[in-house]
């Protein structure tokens, strides 16, 4: 018996088919709610906390498979590639209901579900799509992203990992860092420099699919300030990548990377903000007899409400723009969202640690699948740095806003 067997909830009394309800938003919503209530054990958080890294893949695969049974493994994918082909407004409902129903977040599959399709749908060859997308829609392939390097963080374009053509292969040497879930990954979306003599540093970067089982790939998990290891360093020592694994044209990697990253500016951020908004509501209600009785803390809590709403409204506007025109959503709005959201999460996380006193100081193991709302105060507080540092530090975001949007002179 594997550990995941213990996760099976009471036998569902009926089968569920949300996809058949498309056309009736309320029925679709209700079907997802009913399904979640039937299939998700009420104590999944406690169970997953016990499992942790020992069987992380097991629990993640279990949940992916449960979603697959009702057609929601890849809710935002088109039919052509094995998704349900939902209209955008229904994709939004799916993620809204996942947040509302506290469904686990498939953290290990974030790149598989979002970044890989965002890249391959647009830039992959037919062969690449056929070969790799099925491993996500029908299998449990874990993908990771090999973008950042020790010397190329916020300044990603200065990356130095090299890929040198040798016959039908490229030979890759270098080091990647902050690669989420790479210790579990089957494949990597890799950026490497094929031409060190490009005019600008953005030139000469190429985009590859790297098999993580290739000889020469070494993965070393990084222990974070939360005590967990969600990402790792990836070392590449004469790794041979077949030339057919090049995505797009050689030297066009920088542009393609923008497609990969654009996926973070839609349903992913929506899912994140809705989950926190739900947790925020619960925080106040659950503290009814504790810190909500302190007039100062109560006011502080109330003050966060408008800030949470502001971010949710910005995200909703972004989704409305994406729905109206998937290719031409505002590039500014995601920057503004990040600048508001990261610091807000950090201040709110700090607030909860302070409000809950000594209880918040007690250490507990993290819970996989709970993202930024594990509701373990210190853990969530520390994790909030993910929003102020990752994906372009907020200091870089402030440069972008002041120089590109407000047209202030460069320093």
């Amino acid at each position: 018996m594997t550990q995941t067997d213990t996760l099976a909830p009471a036998i569902a009394e009926r089968s569920f088919d949300p996809i058949s309800k498309v056309g009736d938003e309320q029925a679709f919503r209700q079907e997802i709610r009913d399904w979640l209530a039937a299939v998700l054990p009420a104590d999944w958080r406690q169970q997953w906390q016990k499992v942790r890294e020992a069987d992380l893949k097991g629990v993640m695969n279990w949940w992916l498979n449960e979603r697959r049974k009702v057609g929601l493994a890849t809710p935002h994918w088109p039919k052509e590639w094995g998704g349900p082909g939902l209209p955008f407004s229904y994709q939004i409902i799916v993620y809204e209901e996942f947040a509302r129903g506290d469904a686990p977040e498939l953290e290990t599959f974030t790149i598989s579900l979002f970044h890989t399709p965002a890249t391959l749908f647009e830039h992959g060859t037919q062969d690449q799509k056929d070969r790799y997308l099925g491993g996500i829609t029908h299998g449990t392939d874990v993908w990771c992203q090999g973008f950042s390097e020790p010397g190329a963080g916020s300044d990603l374009a200065s990356l130095r990992t090299s890929a040198v053509r040798d016959g039908d292969d490229y030979v890759v040497n270098g080091q990647k860092i902050w690669s989420s879930a790479s210790m579990h990954a089957d494949y990597c979306l890799l950026l490497a420099r094929t031409d060190p003599n490009g005019k600008r540093k953005h030139d000469g970067i190429s985009y590859f699919i790297m098999d993580m089982k290739s000889p020469g790939v070494t993965v070393r998990p990084i222990r974070q300030i939360t005590g967990e290891s969600e990402f790792a360093e990836v070392f590449m020592d004469d790794v041979r990548i077949p030339a057919k694994n090049l995505i797009g044209a050689e030297g066009n990697g920088w542009n393609i990377a923008q497609s990969t990253l654009s996926t973070e500016r839609g349903l992913l951020i929506f899912s994140a903000t809705e989950r926190i908004a739900r947790a925020f509501e619960l925080d106040g209600i659950e503290a009814k007899n504790t810190w909500m009785r302190d007039v100062g803390l109560r006011r502080e809590y109330a003050g966060f409400y408008a800030e949470m709403q502001a971010v949710r409204l910005m995200v909703k506007r972004l989704l409305a723009e994406l729905e109206a025109n998937p290719d031409k959503a505002s590039a500014k709005l995601p920057t503004f969202i990040k600048l508001n959201w990261g610091p807000l999460l950090q201040r709110y996380g700090e607030f909860l640690v302070r409000a809950e006193g000594i209880e918040a100081q007690k250490w507990e193991p993290a819970i996989p699948g709970t993202g930024h709302s594990s509701r373990m105060r210190f853990n969530d507080f520390l994790k909030s740095y993910g929003w102020t540092i990752a994906g372009g530090s907020n200091e870089i975001m402030r440069n972008i806003v002041s120089e590109r949007i407000l047209n202030l002179p460069r320093g």
Binding site: E281, A302, L406
Partner: protein
């Protein structure tokens, strides 16, 4: 009604007109005028029908709602305009609750722009009346010195209501109280055996509901005013950072300064969403009051903080009355103090969140 109007075009027209009619130089010069409001600016806005915005169409008004009013207040805030439209537009809410009892000729006067109204806040003390005459004092009434009509909270036969008092009626006097914000005015009103005219005692069917509606609309208006002010003072400051040189460089190139304005800008983008959302909700939406209160508390404080920093970002000239940031700081701080302090509003927001 409101959906027949293109609100964006309306907003654009408000901004455009005030940019021409009330440019920065005028706003700066006005500060020393000692006026309760600017008569020329008022006449111009009346000519455009702005005071008629929320008055019913039956009374010669435009019959528009909270969203249209929010755009107007945002434009007034952006220009730091001394045009007392807050009370004048809110007055229609009180007359609206009066039913057939009266106010028609007053609404017509508001709509034609000949009547400025000072409205007491829902939380303020009520004056006792027997229904025929009234005596008492109402302190800190916004825009009272320039008003033609007061709408005051009254208590009649143990029931709360509102009194409409002509400011030139016998027994009415106003002691003006100077404000740090010279774009608005404040007064203490004394009523000495003032006769109450026919239909001038307004007895709403549900006084508490009227208080909530007034609070909601006033909070949206104040938040919009602050939003407009915040956006304007930041724009003015960024423009200054693009021309002011020190150490042979434009100060806008210094990261220590540009990061601050980037944060302010991002926060105002969020604030704009809050104001638009709060303004667009129907009066009977369950979260209309929560959205208005929380938005007011957040946006008025945000703009006060941005305006505070904009003086600092201007350096020495920011401390002079010749530059405009101080006008925005003062207006923002007054907005923060109106319709309940931040503390009082947050307590209400917390109550609502707990009850949710």
């Amino acid at each position: 009604m409101s959906d027949e109007f293109d609100l964006d075009a309306l907003a654009e027209s408000f901004l455009e007109f005030l940019e021409g009619e009330w440019p920065k130089e005028k706003a700066i010069a006005y500060e020393r005028s000692g006026q309760a409001y600017d008569a020329g600016l008022w006449a111009a806005t009346a000519g455009l029908g702005w005071p008629a915005l929320t008055a019913p169409e039956a009374n010669g008004g435009l019959g528009l709602g909270t969203a249209a009013a929010a755009y107007l207040h945002a434009a007034l805030g952006a220009a730091a305009a001394p045009a007392p439209l807050l009370g004048t537009l809110l007055a229609t809410t009180i007359f609206g609750a009066a039913g057939a009892e009266g106010g028609h000729e007053l609404l017509a006067a508001i709509a034609e722009g000949s009547l400025r109204v000072a409205v007491a806040e829902p939380g303020s003390a009520a004056v006792e009346t027997d229904g025929k005459t009234v005596s008492g004092t109402v302190r800190n009434l916004l825009d009272a010195p320039g008003a033609g009509l007061f709408l005051l909270r009254a208590s009649h036969a143990g029931r709360p209501g509102w009194l409409a008092i002509d400011t030139d009626a016998a027994g009415v006097s106003v002691a003006r109280r100077a404000l740090a914000d010279t774009t608005r005015s404040l007064g203490d009103v004394t009523l000495d055996n003032v006769a109450i005219g026919e239909g001038r005692l307004i007895r709403p069917a549900d006084p508490a509901a009227l208080d909530d509606l007034l609070t909601r609309r006033a909070c949206v208006a104040l938040a919009a005013d602050s939003l407009g002010g915040g956006e304007a003072v930041l724009r003015i400051t960024i423009d200054y950072m693009k021309v002011r040189e020190q150490f042979g460089r434009l100060i806008g190139s210094f990261q220590a300064l540009k990061h601050r304005v980037a944060d302010h800008h991002a926060a105002l983008v969020g604030a704009r969403e809050l104001v638009l959302n709060a303004a667009a909700l129907p009066d009977d939406a369950p979260d209309a009051l929560l959205a208005a209160l929380s938005t007011e508390a957040h946006v008025t404080a945000l703009t006060a903080d941005i305006a505070r920093d904009c003086i600092q970002l201007h350096g020495g000239v920011g401390f002079t009355a010749e530059f405009s940031p101080h006008l925005y700081l003062k207006r923002a701080k007054l907005n923060e103090a109106l319709y309940g302090t931040r503390i009082a509003i947050l307590d209400r927001v917390a109550d609502m969140l707990e009850a949710a």
